[in-house]
Point group: C2
Chain length 193, copies 2
Amino acid sequence: MYEVFFRSFNERVSLTKEEEEFVKQFLTPKKLRKKQFILQEGDVCKYICFVEKGALKSYSVDANGTESIIQFALEGWTISDLYSFLTAEPATYNIDALEDSELVLISKASHETLLEKLPKYETYIRLQITGAYIALQKRITSVISLPLEERYKNFIALYPNIAQRVPQHMIASYMGLTPETLSRVRKKMNLGK
Amino acid sequence: MYEVFFRSFNERVSLTKEEEEFVKQFLTPKKLRKKQFILQEGDVCKYICFVEKGALKSYSVDANGTESIIQFALEGWTISDLYSFLTAEPATYNIDALEDSELVLISKASHETLLEKLPKYETYIRLQITGAYIALQKRITSVISLPLEERYKNFIALYPNIAQRVPQHMIASYMGLTPETLSRVRKKMNLGK
DNA sequence: CGATTTTTTGAATCATATCAACGTACGTGG
DNA sequence: CCACGTACGTTGATATGATTCAAAAAATCG
């Protein structure tokens, strides 16, 4: 239990066995079935969710009911509506499971205590979010400056495992495209041959 | 000197006078003329730049020479090619001044020392980057899910001061549009009447 | 004022969305 | 194990929206 979480943690900041035990007190395991929500728009986001196993997505839903996928999270990734988590305002995103999944939850109270009591936790969080920030900046750059084909190639190169595990229309959603358009982009690239 | 920087710092984590003095050792002031670069693509990004006064932009340039603006930074904001700064790989972004500006520079060595010696600095950095991450996530959401008009309205609502200070074609670039398209969007919204 | 930059406008072209239909794969219940 | 229903991907025709290129109007700066 928590293997993936502590592997991720130790890759960034290495913990002693005692520190690991200390951290464990603040973690809650949670299993999620495919299609089950861990957060719904309008609710306050109570957890940072670390994915031990499985896959989730966060997304917003517009007036017509169209979903736009903000983030995918596979094993080793963290997902949350961070703004809602930090401010306790209602969430603007939904998060649900793409597959049966196992999560490690960190509540707000745990998060705050860990920040206070264990400097290495703050470092871990800082490094995590720095990585996430850099990735997002690349995503923005890609969206505003590259033609579709390039954007799609970048995505596949960066996240080959996501491309294999999630349906294509969700990748379209993540890219801000209709499924038909992504299908045609792929055709033009003639993938599969 | 450094007033804006320490105001920003103290808003997030309050420092004693002694701590401020300690931090000052690691800061370097720098003036930049309009159009002057602080970072060029291909060079390693050596500083985190805090804007005391003025305005800068970071941007990438594609094969045709078209600029895509990644970020604006006005007073109180921080700008850098964080990936290059952290990894010492060549930068993929350019950063230059939109107006005559005054910066506070933090070198890599200073950054590392401050992280090590002053826990409050790590907290400051963590909070800064968390805010930047949340803002970027909103920007992505806007780009992939909203129609142009809405995206433009959001931008104006969020950064009214940027809209007033930078030419419209740069806002188009930031949004990933041609200047003509943004001009027509504005016309349709009939702004100015 | 003159020179440069910025914004606007128009017309033609290209890209993406939309709507509808079809084919395929997959999983579930019979 | 088969049959059916559902979800997914593809294709085509058309409509809508954005880009491009060229030019003119407006604003800014020295």
